[in-house]
Symmetry: C2
Subunit: 499 residues, 2 copies
């Protein structure tokens, strides 16, 4: 690839003239604007997966299950919004590692973060953060997580991944709920002893309410609140906790206000009924967990009215309210946190994050701060090297006005999708989205899957969700020119589909 050849030539020339490391030349080479390194468009030279990917998949199969592997990537040669694979194909990436790449591939700012001498020991020495934090930990937290905290929340706990963030957020809710139940008094000796052997009163029979189609993670507590696919759930003994339908709304939301309001009001009633039912049978409901947009479950949107209703119910009943922003946070909706679109009169109690944030973790209201140390804890509780990267991400989002840019691109993308929906009414429906976090439905799963396969043949890599949806999960650097590259190929692909 010409970019690689260019870098290699630069490397040789510069190394000749001064005594300098390859690494330093690479860092220099990457310094110019990332756009200079982005290809002008996709390039497809083999089937995807190609022969080299297939060979590697076969080798990996000797070590672990490869059923989910699409292809092997060449990250050295991936740039901006373009992902390269090991067979020399270069794809416009609309799925970005399951929505976890904020600034595209090999962004100069992130290369800078890894290359800075003052960050070296941060990448080399991973501390037990909860016990022996590094000297710059407070200032790093302030520059990153605290500086972008959702309104009303200035306490934050780092974690290693999304699932752990959700689980520990749930634990913060359970602790607060039981502390309130004790009227703030210390736990009894009986509670302290019985909890060790998983018995009441120390291990109380509490539950969490979640929604159909939701996805919150894969360890036992988070998995008990996830209800999207059997692949995540089959054979695992999760507790029988309350589940309520998620609103099934008509899109566009603003054209179906009355009908949608009726649906959401009905579901809010069902939530109350379900809480009463579980409380009565002794599995007291301590909290509600919800995604601002149900992503894995099919990009299902609800309105601010619904989320305000959940906040009101939990406040009224002294329950905790978790908004899980693992997939929706970090700017993809045009606001830093998706739930900022809801104008809640009182902020959620816990907001979990991961993916684009590069670190897992959760925000909490100060009232949900545990009383003792070691309650929300593990060996690493996160990784300062991820915060060093996040520091650059937050800076670039600010300096390059990426939230505004996401709004512009999002509107352009949505308007393109509406055009396609008009052009192919038998195939497409339900264009919906916030910022670039958009989706569109196909008339059948087969058509959705065929469109995705055909798009890949044209060098556009996309992601599915739910049974018939295509979801857009781009970087924050996705611009209108990238939308054009996609839309041209999308039109082509749609014109070949059966209605």
């Amino acid at each position: 690839m010409s970019v690689t050849r260019g870098i290699n030539r630069l490397l040789r020339n510069v190394k000749k003239s001064v005594n300098i490391s390859e690494r330093q030349v690479l860092a220099l080479a990457y310094q110019p604007n990332v756009n200079d390194f982005e290809p002008n468009g996709p390039r497809v030279v083999t089937d995807i997966p190609g022969p080299r990917s297939k060979q590697l998949i076969e080798q990996l199969d000797q070590i672990q299950n490869v059923g989910a592997v699409h292809f092997f990537c060449d990250y050295d040669n991936s740039h901006g919004n373009y992902l390269a694979d090991v067979d020399g194909n270069v794809m416009l990436d609309l799925f970005t590692q399951i929505s976890s790449v904020p600034l595209g591939y090999n962004h100069p700012a992130l290369i800078n973060a890894v290359s800075k001498p003052e960050n070296l020991s941060t990448f080399v020495n991973r501390p037990a953060l909860g016990v022996y934090p590094p000297a710059d930990w407070v200032s790093r937290l302030q520059n990153t997580l605290v500086s972008v905290a959702p309104p009303g929340m200035n306490h934050v706990q780092t974690m290693a991944c999304g699932t752990c963030s959700v689980e520990h957020g749930m634990k913060a809710v359970f602790m607060k709920f039981m502390s309130d139940a004790r009227g703030g008094m210390p736990p009894s000796q009986e509670a302290l002893e019985s909890c060790i052997i998983n018995k009441a009163p120390g291990s109380p029979s509490l539950s969490f309410l979640s929604f159909n189609n939701s996805f919150h993670g894969r360890t036992m507590g988070a998995l008990a609140c996830s209800h999207s696919k059997w692949l995540h759930k089959l054979d695992f003994p999760v507790p029988d906790w309350p589940i309520v339908r998620f609103p099934n709304l008509k899109y566009p939301l603003e054209e179906n206000v009355v009908e949608n309001r009726t649906e959401e009001s009905k579901i809010l009633e069902e939530v109350e009924d379900k809480i009463d039912e579980y409380n009565k049978k002794g599995q007291t409901v301590a909290g509600i967990i919800v995604e601002p947009v149900q992503c894995e479950g099919g990009d299902k949107f609800a309105t601010p009215y619904f989320f305000q209703g959940l906040r009101d119910i939990t406040n009224k009943r002294g329950m905790g309210f978790i908004i899980d922003e693992v997939q929706t946070g970090c700017g993809a909706t045009g606001k830093f946190w998706a739930h900022e679109h809801f104008n809640l009169t009182d902020s959620p109690d816990i907001v979990s994050f991961s993916k684009k944030m590069l670190t897992g973790g959760f925000y909490k209201k100060v009232t949900f701060k545990p009383k003792e140390g070691h309650r929300i804890f593990n060996t690493w509780v996160g990784d300062p090297s991820k915060i060093a990267l996040l520091e650059e991400v937050v800076k670039v989002i600010r300096e390059d006005n990426l939230l505004d840019s996401v709004k512009v691109t999002g509107e352009y993308l949505m308007s393109g999708l509406f055009n396609m929906q008009s052009k192919y009414p038998g195939i497409l429906s339900n264009t919906r989205g916030l910022g670039t976090l958009c989706a569109i439905d196909f008339n059948t799963t087969d058509n959705r899957d065929k469109a995705m396969a055909d798009l890949r043949k044209k060098g556009v890599h996309t992601g599915a969700c739910g049974p018939t949806s295509l979801r857009f999960r781009t970087t924050l650097l996705f611009k209108t020119k990238h939308v054009d590259v996609f839309m041209e190929r999308f039109d082509d692909v749609l014109s070949q589909l059966n209605k």
Copy 2:
């Protein structure tokens, strides 16, 4: 500190003479043997935590609970076995970030891993490994995790942390158990649908057997198998799963063979009874999870006979057997995996790891490989940048014969502890250990805590476990000279304690 001054001078001089980056000079500066950078001994200049640490703790308290924070560290100026804090104190570190630092602080090989140009994109671009692995992923796995796999286990799954490793290991057991129960036939439609809403048959009423005092993690499934401290457990609704006493053996093990055998035989019977009891009440026991040494619970050792017994019971009953090596793996016992000391006639089904391995994950027998993709999965399933670091760790362990070195140091440490135990018989007892993974008991919790506080005043940082134990969790580079530094101060401290 003189090391810093030295580096700064080097930096200035070298920068004068050639056009070179600070980072490159730093890398050069660190190249010589790590021992050249280790101080000759501890240096204590303030109380610990000192004024700067206290100030930072106060600041961090505005962001999160700080109850577990000991002091803030200066990782730039920590070297080898010596940990520096932000107040200029330098401590010999016998606890190493809760046993998670394999090669000490700022080891040249790890600095090299971060600095290598060919690793740059690995640190910058974190992939969704289960779907889009990098080109070098198979070879990296082969160089690292596969090359040090426990006997009989060549399948491995990476994860982000120890808890997730345990949870997903348990899930692998649940899946295998249910697949066997179906006679290998595909699940019924009813199972596929019911699992989504947490109901049988898709969500079966299975359980896992664990031991008193054990610690396996903090998310709901792993937490249900952990029974060491109320701080981990109180207020969390974990399932009522079977728990059996862990053997309470007499040390030294080799001098109490008959008595210990009786105790272990009795417990193996209790295990069988407990399985029958839970099977009968419909919470079928799918597996057993055990640590090779109960670390958090008080460094409790059992003999190969006991572990062989557990392997036999689980094999006989078609149950899964997990050995949790999160704290014991990666060479601390003088073998790469602690359970290699047990000479099991058949390997465990799952071995979980994290901490010193720098990445979480678990080994599994090929029969525990899931049939479908996405069954053991999450967005990141680990982090290739941690594997890039592990690659260096494994190389150094091999090239520097660190397993042999750990045996030598371990024997020297144990013999020193036995001396102290003879000198202070009213205070110390139960010296025990494998390699440098050693512990000793105090007569009272107060004396243990006072000894640790006094040791810290003398610049030796240690870790506690259980109610009265001091545990040794050193780096793999801990040598006899470091034992001498510790033992001299330990003797001093013990001579001041009340019996």
